[in-house]
């Protein structure tokens, strides 16, 4: 009986040791992936045209060297690798700007530059608001406010289109070139939250009055056409980034071909 207990204890001890080693291996393998995952996240913060050159050819081999180096002990390599990847994650936008030769945008400019989210939000906005205006029987001061705010949005969109035009003409952005956009930026800072609030108010008012938002709007199609134009302007404002990216690539190609001569 006692021998059986000893045998059972021995088997349990062996099992615990084996499971412990498996768990340890599992944890070690997962911890080793942390720096790699962080570095992959850093690569997504750099301009796509430089990802191969920076991430695949420079950063990743160095990280592999840190993780597999001769003196890389498990905890040391985790700390060194994570520190290496985190610092690159933090600096990736700066490195990307150095490579593309673009200027740093101010925080306000970055926050309120036309983005996909804004385009998706502001695109259908005129339809909803104008439909709401024509759907209710009795007008309200809130619709006038919305119209004014929409005019502000339109102004911002026109400024975005102006940016596109400037880029078509080969205008290169730098820190100073953001200045003409300052008014658009400031107006957006006021306009966007106000428009969102006013739109919600208008829609709520419409719901309280139990009117159908779109079907009862007699001039719906006219405003739909206007909205498409409006959407285009906003999209134009957004696409200046893409245009600039293409232009910087073209410049790079030209300098590459010119240098051997």
């Amino acid at each position: 009986m006692i021998a059986a207990k000893y045998l059972l204890g021995l088997v349990v001890a062996v099992l615990i040791a084996a499971v412990g080693e498996l768990v340890s291996d599992e944890i070690r393998a997962r911890l080793d992936r942390i720096p790699l995952a962080l570095l992959a996240a850093a690569s997504r913060r750099i301009a796509p045209e430089f990802r191969t050159e920076l991430y695949d050819e420079a950063w990743l081999p160095e990280l592999q060297h840190i993780l597999q180096g001769d003196e890389a002990m498990p905890i040391t390599r985790l700390i060194h690798g994570t520190r290496y990847a985190v610092r690159l994650w933090l600096s990736a936008p700066h490195i990307s700007r150095v490579c593309t030769g673009t200027a740093r945008q101010s925080l306000l400019s970055r926050a309120f530059t036309p983005s996909i989210g804004l385009v998706l939000y502001a695109g259908p906005l005129p339809i909803v608001v104008f439909a709401a205006c024509f759907a209710v029987e009795n007008g309200s001061w809130i619709y006038g406010l919305v119209a004014v705010l929409l005019a502000g949005e339109g102004y911002v969109a026109v400024r975005g289109a102006r940016w596109l035009l400037m880029h078509y003409l080969g205008y290169r952005p730098n820190a100073a070139s953001w200045c003409p956009c300052r008014w658009a930026t400031l107006s957006r800072a006021i306009v966007l939250p106000s428009t969102l609030t006013a739109t919600c108010a208008a829609v709520l008012l419409n719901l309280v009055n139990q009117n159908n938002l779109l079907i009862e709007a007699s001039l719906f199609w006219l405003y739909l056409a206007g909205s498409v134009g409006y959407f285009y302007l906003l999209w134009s404002g957004y696409s200046y980034r893409v245009i600039y990216m293409v232009k910087s690539l073209q410049r790079r190609d030209m300098s590459d071909t010119a240098s051997p001569a």
Binding site: E57, A58, W59, P61, H65, Y84, L88, S91, H94
Partner: protein
């Protein structure tokens, strides 16, 4: 090919000095981090700036990744024009940072009294 001008800060100077120690030998990013004491985020910004200005050239290590079991690392080396410009800039910075002749404060006070 002439190189572009670059703003020489003390951190940039540390990196350049490391390259000038052994101008013919290429440097790896991690080795530069260790020798200069700079973080990866700071170092790669400087390397990108120097490369863009034409002071540095980079190439992939000539190894077989399958045989060595690791990917080829990137090597950086000074271009001939970059080495010349780095020498001049470091010499100028060294002149600017050289302290004036040491005069003990105590002797000055004694002289005044």
């Amino acid at each position: 090919m002439p190189v572009d001008e670059i703003r020489i800060t003390t951190t940039v100077a540390r990196v350049l000095r490391q390259f000038l120690e052994h101008p013919s030998e290429p440097c790896y990013g991690f080795n530069l981090m260790r020798s200069t004491g700079l973080a990866s985020g700071t170092l790669y910004v400087i390397l990108a700036r120097l490369q863009r200005a034409g002071w540095l050239a980079s190439e992939q290590e000539a190894i077989d990744p399958v045989a060595t079991g690791r990917p080829a690392r990137r090597l950086y080396r000074l271009t001939p024009d970059g080495a010349q410009a780095a020498h001049l800039e470091l010499a100028e910075l060294s002149d600017q940072l050289r302290p004036p002749r040491f005069r003990p404060l105590l002797r000055l006070q004694d002289g005044k009294s």
